[in-house]
């Protein structure tokens, strides 16, 4: 029995923590909110130098050849610092899908560029006023010789303005699920990109309009019309990483509350003495540790192709999503008046928690996935 990250993984976490401390943790996100994109790009190249963007890319394509558990410290730490970017979609969706299903050409083309930090990939799935259900995907890709002609609109695309490449879920056939494909689309002037305002201002969302955009047919990932099942595979990786990212945020939230309760004095004593405060923080800690255990295990199941991986990953995701909102909310209450100000980070974590709540499906959707995975 050894249920803990190993020494190398913990050491990597320390390096990352130190690096992100040195650059001011949430300061990067705060500057990004004010419009400082370059600051973020500098951090991005710093993280690249530390090897973050090559962790799970195989060695022949310039990566470190590690796997999901090795991503855990990275996602926890960027969750803690609320870092902008599309790491989730790039490292925990595009990379595993390309490694598993990409053609040699696609791998050669994209993986080294991801590893070197020069390309960032995001996922474009949702359409205006539609749900995440497969029957609501209308954005179409018609085969025309060696090309696909794409028409339609994708919205709420995470990091839409900083991504260089989109993985697009498009309709290529009539079958509800087996008529969908995933296509790699490089950003170009022909794609009309419109930024959307988001409650979590450290997340930039975009709407993308495709008007008869021609893309080579060899940009399809995996077999054509098998996009939905590939997407499901990719979502396992993405949600396992997402659960770690949320744990990282929760960890900081519990730490903020604890630190504040030790120094803030009222009635002549630190408020952390009062059980109304102390017990509330303990309940946050319980949820944090539960979420952390679930996320470690979720990533372990991926690395070991365990039979229970879907149940493990989706339960980790929905538990963390709900718990993150609860603790980020309590954090504001524990801080009192100062917690309601813009100056203190409390609100940033709450906004991030809300951003993730329904990202690529709701907690109810994922609970249902758990039920199905358990053959209920």
């Amino acid at each position: 029995m050894d249920f803990a990250l190993n020494e190398e993984q913990e050491m990597f976490r320390e390096y990352l923590r130190k690096y992100l401390n040195d650059v001011g943790q949430t300061k990067v996100a705060r500057n990004f909110i004010k419009g400082d994109l370059q600051g973020f790009l500098d951090i991005h190249s710093g993280l690249t130098d530390l090897g973050c963007t090559s962790i799970n890319i195989s060695e022949e394509y310039g990566g470190l050849g590690l796997s999901s558990l090795d991503l855990v410290p990275f996602f926890e730490e960027i969750g803690r610092s609320l870092l902008p970017g599309v790491y989730l979609e790039t490292m925990a969706f595009a990379v595993p899908l390309l490694e598993l299903y990409g053609t040699t050409e696609q791998k050669e083309n994209y993986l080294p560029q991801i590893a070197s930090g020069s390309k960032k990939i995001t996922l474009a799935w949702l359409e205006p006023n539609k749900s995440f259900n497969p029957d609501e995907v209308e954005c179409s890709a018609e085969i025309n010789g060696d090309s696909l002609i794409i028409n339609g609109v994708k919205t709420l695309v995470s990091g839409g303005d900083i991504a260089d490449i989109y993985i697009l879920l498009v309709r290529t056939g009539e079958e509800v699920e087996e008529g969908l494909s995933l296509v790699l689309v490089d950003h170009s002037e022909e794609i009309k990109r419109n930024n959307l305002k988001c409650v979590d201002e450290s997340k930039h969302l975009a709407e993308l309009k495709f008007n008869s955009l021609a893309v080579p047919i060899n940009q399809v990932v995996g077999p054509i019309n098998q996009g939905w099942s590939l997407l499901q595979e990719g979502l396992l990786y993405l949600n396992a990483a997402l659960s770690s990212q949320m744990v990282g945020g929760m960890d900081r939230v519990v730490e903020m509350s604890t630190e504040y309760a030790k120094i803030r004095e009222q009635f002549g004593q630190p408020i952390g003495r009062f059980q109304a405060i102390k017990h509330r923080i303990v309940d946050m800690k319980l949820e944090l540790e539960t979420a952390r255990s679930l996320s470690y295990y979720a990533n372990w199941t991926l690395e070991n192709s365990s039979d229970d991986r879907a149940a493990a990953i989706y339960s980790a995701r929905s538990f963390a999503a709900e718990a993150y909102i609860r603790s980020a909310s309590q954090n504001i209450q524990i801080h009192g008046g100062i917690g309601f100000t813009e100056e203190i980070d409390c609100h940033l974590y709450l906004k991030r928690a809300r951003y993730f709540e329904n990202y690529l499906g709701s907690s109810q959707d994922y609970n249902e996935q758990v039920a199905l995975a358990l053959a209920w």
Partner: protein
């Protein structure tokens, strides 16, 4: 990260499995799990079971070999609990003796005390209870008033204890009594006695619990007598002995957690079989959502436990994080039992032989309130976690 168990551990499990299948009370494996209810028969049945465990070498497995144990590793102890839960083995009547008093005696008892008590703890000949709580000292245990006064080489003990589990069946008591009054620090001046329960100055009165059981007692001490030789540790230093005694629970909440896992699985089976409006309950959207949430929470508790266990294995002793396990498991157990009654609809009010399903969830529900109070209330656990894990300041008065 590694969840597999070694070949040696697997062999240990197989050996225990085989032994259990051959030695559990007649009909137990087939589901005839009845324990007599009268006090004398109940006591005899469980003492016989412990004797059987002892003779098979399965009592006090974590104890050193020279004291009759088998020097089991922490992992073997975990496996032991898993298997006992799996076969729903009869309760261990001398739980307190085997898991707490015995190991404390082995470490801190005098040679004479070891000679006198150790063997009888293991065989079940002498059942132990703990005399801790009093009517005015519950969570605030250091406020105990039961008094021991020295008289020659004797101590005369007067006072009242309460919530004494197995007190009515016990032969011996690990008793905390006040031998001195410290003006500021209440926990100083308490002494730990190994008290003979079979004397005229000791009287127990069973307390009827809300779930219909009578497991704990009021314990009245009226000029009860102990001798110098019955003191464990030093006079006035009993608090330390008690803390040490709690540390011997090195696998912590393991058994309760494995029971919780089993009950969760039973809950799923019931929700599959039970039909409402001709549809299995498990197809109901509300039920599915709640059950998926319970799945995450029970798996999370189990995995937390494994994470804390990993720390214990590295350090050799459990840290304050074990309070997290206790709090999570007891609270979750309560909510799960409550939910199981809710989904039985109005039939959920039927009890005992009329209960709608085999596992009497009505009993589980009622009993679950004991778990969030006994062994340190959930509030005390939260204080421990807040102060010892998070480093928050203690509130005044403690």
């Amino acid at each position: 990260m590694e969840f597999t168990i070694s070949k040696k551990e697997e062999a240990f499990r197989e050996e225990l499995k085989t032994w259990l299948s051959e030695n559990l009370p007649y009909g137990w494996m087939e589901g005839k799990r009845e324990i007599p209810t009268t006090k004398e028969e109940y006591s005899k049945f469980l003492r016989d079971w412990q004797r059987t465990l002892y003779e098979g070498g399965w009592a006090g497995i974590a104890w050193p070999k020279e004291y009759g144990g088998r020097n089991a590793t922490i992992m073997e102890e975990i496996i032991y609990h898993q298997e006992m839960v799996r076969v729903k083995a009869p309760p261990l009547i001398n739980y307190i003796g085997i898991h707490m008093v015995g190991p404390t005696l082995i470490r801190s008892g005098s040679e004479q005390q070891k000679q006198k008590y150790i063997q009888n703890i293991l065989t079940g000949e002498e059942v132990w209870c703990q005399g801790y709580s009093e009517p005015n000292a519950g969570s605030d245990l250091s406020a105990i008033q039961t008094n021991a006064t020295k008289d020659g080489d004797c101590w005369i003990i007067n006072g009242q204890k309460v919530w004494t589990s197995y007190g009515h069946l016990a032969d011996r008591c690990f008793l905390l009594a006040r031998t001195n009054n410290h003006p500021e620090k209440k926990h100083k001046g308490i002494t730990a006695f190994l008290l003979d329960m079979k004397q005229s100055g000791v009287e127990t009165k069973p307390i009827l619990q809300m779930d219909g059981n009578q497991e704990f007692n009021e314990l009245y001490l009226t000029d009860a007598i102990a001798h110098d030789a019955d003191i464990i540790g030093e006079v006035d230093e009993g608090w330390k002995v008690m803390i040490e005694l709690m540390l011997h629970e090195r696998v912590g909440i393991g058994a309760e957690l494995f029971s919780l896992e089993m009950r969760f699985n039973e809950m799923v089976e019931i929700a599959k079989e039970h039909h409402v409006n001709e549809k299995p309950l498990l197809e109901d959207r509300f039920v599915r959502q709640k059950m998926a949430e319970f799945y995450a929470r029970y798996r999370g508790s189990l995995l937390n436990y494994y994470r804390n266990l990993t720390n214990t294995l590295k350090k050799g002793h459990p840290g304050p994080e074990s309070s997290i396990d206790k709090l999570l498991v007891s609270e979750l157990n309560k909510e799960m039992a409550s939910f199981m009654i809710t989904i039985q609809g109005h039939h959920g009010v039927l009890w005992k032989e009329n209960a709608p399903v085999d596992t009497v969830w009505q009993d589980e529900f009622l009993a679950s309130f004991g778990q969030t109070i006994g062994g340190g209330t959930s509030e005390v656990q939260r204080n421990t976690i807040g102060e010892r894990v998070l480093g928050l300041p203690k509130d005044r008065g403690r």
